[in-house]
Symmetry: C2
Subunit: 407 residues, 2 copies
């Protein structure tokens, strides 16, 4: 008998038939004698519909009330999934984040899990019930409902699995697993059988919508192996696990593009100590996440500083720049929205020289001009023109023979 | 400064514009210096939509999970109403039944309120907040969500008003108040300025959808005056209050019809002691509410027993009859669905002889045949053919000059 925690994303429970399908999958695991805990997201576009309703009322909703509103989404899906399991004659019970006592801090809309009191959960499991848990939500010390922000259900899943020391943690969505590239962009992208936490983290951050980075970090912290697969078929998925388990490390395991970044160049600011610090501190204070940064072209003691941010944060960034313009003697700044970030990821690249050179050469051969570069231990990213993004992903996928990974 | 409890029904908060309208009404009360507690139902047809979704999953849902599902309806509306109030710059906070600690017994789908812990409510009021409360829902000792069944939001409202000893309890819906008859049936029906708990109870039981009988009983128990009005206009509504406050009692204050009853006649059962008891006990055990009863035509020591029930209970009643047929030596029974119950209500009729006679004569004059009669202290009901129901209501409304009540 194993203790299994499963998670089904919104697309896996988008309508009653799909909920029925998930019920059958859960029952299959239960019939094998396993204890089953199932974390569920809100059905399909429920959250979007609630946000739309909210938008008709106010542009500036109170975060506490947003959580009050949004937590209903998962509450609906846990009730329906539980009923579906009952309809096949199996015992099940649904629990909200508040009933599960998924304790969080006070930070509405992006709360952090501080503790899980598993007593109710374990009591229900001991009565041989399948326990259906609302993802994405928790409760603070004031008994107010909180939500965990983007990727919240993944985070709930890993946190619950860690809290009960689950034997297996399975994340189901409409994606078969982790691919070497987005299959919509690269026709012969191949599915990875294994990926390390670090690699997954880089790929998750790059927008491969399989698994949220927070959940990956948490799984890494607890050394919890994750099994990523689709709820729409029975294909083998991808296992996310510690690096030390991997043999014959692949130099590069994936290539990804992010077309949601914009590039801001602050022109000709004085080359004095503390100026860059002031600039990026101000951006951080306004909640703007800066990704790539370069400082270049020193002339007349004036610097150009270029950085990229997510396009969601453009307005905030502009507000900051306008405010600090006089103090930092910023002459001018311009925004380039016509950019994409292309990245290759692989734990093996640390120990393999020349990966970066191969990347730059391959892009150059295909006339793809590189505007900015950043590197980390297991990732190299280049900023290029947006309309070349798909081409670049294909070029790099071929350069590193990613169609033959795991084959 | 008064402490006011208001309730807005589902039709009053059916869409964002209506929610905005309610927000303005609530703020108006708050600006006058009152403390405001506002109980809200689920938006318009939300509950029906959830029930439909559930119907696509199972025919036999677990009552606990039904409550898990349905309680989301009010949770959405309290969040949205609170946001709407915030958008005008006024402080407000939403509380679910569970956060409000509206404690109930374990009976899911038709739970009974056992206690309200007002500490959180009073804390928020003390911080000058408008408190928006989810109607219809509570929480049991196991931290599971419960719902109060039909009329639940009215019941929540009166219970909360009683618990905080409110100065005023106002129930808003899409109906202007309590009428002498359904204005859709009787063109010159007039609105009552006042009605007693007992009269309201009879009318509420008769299906005048203004206020649920449970709420009326509770208000009567606590001597809480209720103010019934529409949220769609500023017309004066109807005050429901204790009988002793009424001067110049009206003989008859209202006439109502109920077309949801069916008549069952059990033919020729032995006239022995205990037979009727056995019959009606069995029906009660099966949860069948019996309304009118007559036992007639004693011949050959055999009795016919005729009774009426709500048509919802037909299947249950038939099951009971089939089961006890042999034991009670029931020869045959038949079901007549072509009936309607017409009732006149008025606290004054206790002290005014001849009201019943006038009712029967008026119906007789218009060729409306009476099949069964029941009377209580403040109500007289007759069973007639269904297609004569509207005619009968109009005949009686005119007979008792109800168009001139309060004028």
């Amino acid at each position: 008998m194993s203790l299994i925690v499963q998670k089904y994303g919104g697309s896996s429970v988008a309508n009653p038939e799909l909920i029925d399908n998930v019920a059958k999958r859960v029952i299959e695991g239960y019939k094998k004698g396993n204890q089953m805990i199932v974390v569920v997201s809100a059905m399909g576009d429920t959250t979007d519909k609630l946000i739309d309703l909210m938008g008709q009322i106010t542009d500036d909703p109170d975060p506490r009330e947003v959580d009050m509103l949004l937590t209903t989404g998962e509450q609906v899906s846990i009730a329906l999934l539980t009923m579906a399991i009952h309809s096949y004659g199996y015992p099940a019970i649904s629990l909200t984040g508040s009933q599960m006592k998924i304790k969080t801090n006070e930070k509405h809309n992006q709360a952090i899990i501080t503790d899980i009191d598993t007593s109710r959960l374990l009591k229900e499991l001991a009565q041989n019930k399948i326990v259906i848990v609302a993802g994405f939500q928790g409760v603070n010390d004031n008994h107010d409902f909180t939500t965990l922000g983007r990727g919240g259900s993944d985070t709930t899943t890993v946190a619950v699995a860690a809290a009960v020391e689950a034997d297996r943690c399975e994340i189901y969505s409409d994606v078969d697993g982790v691919y070497t590239a987005d299959p919509r962009i690269v026709k012969n992208a191949s599915k990875l059988d294994y990926i390390s936490y670090e690699e997954m983290l880089e790929l998750a951050n790059l927008g491969a919508n399989v698994l949220h980075p927070r959940a990956v970090e948490l799984a890494n912290h607890y050394g919890l192996k994750l099994y990523i697969a689709s709820s729409f078929n029975n294909k083998l998925g991808t296992i996310v696990r510690g690096d030390d388990k991997m043999e014959g490390k692949q130099n590069v395991v994936g290539v990804a593009s992010d077309i949601n970044e914009i590039k801001i160049t602050v022109e000709r600011i004085p080359d004095q100590p503390g100026v860059a610090g002031k600039l990026f501190n101000s951006l951080a204070d306004a909640g703007v996440n800066v990704d790539m940064i370069i400082q270049n072209l020193q002339r007349d003691n004036l610097n150009d500083i270029t950085f990229t941010i997510n396009n969601d944060h453009e307005k905030r960034a502009v507000n900051v720049l306008e405010k600090i313009k006089p103090e930092l003697k910023i002459n001018n700044y311009n925004i380039d929205r016509d950019v994409a970030k292309i990245s290759i990821v692989g734990a093996g690249m640390q120990s393999t020289p020349g990966i970066a050179a191969r990347m730059f050469s391959a892009l150059g051969r295909d006339q793809i001009n590189i505007q900015m570069i950043t590197t980390s231990e297991i990732k190299i990213s280049c900023l290029i023109k947006k309309d070349l993004a798909d081409k670049a992903v294909n070029v790099l996928h071929e350069e590193f023979s990613l169609d033959r990974v795991n084959k």
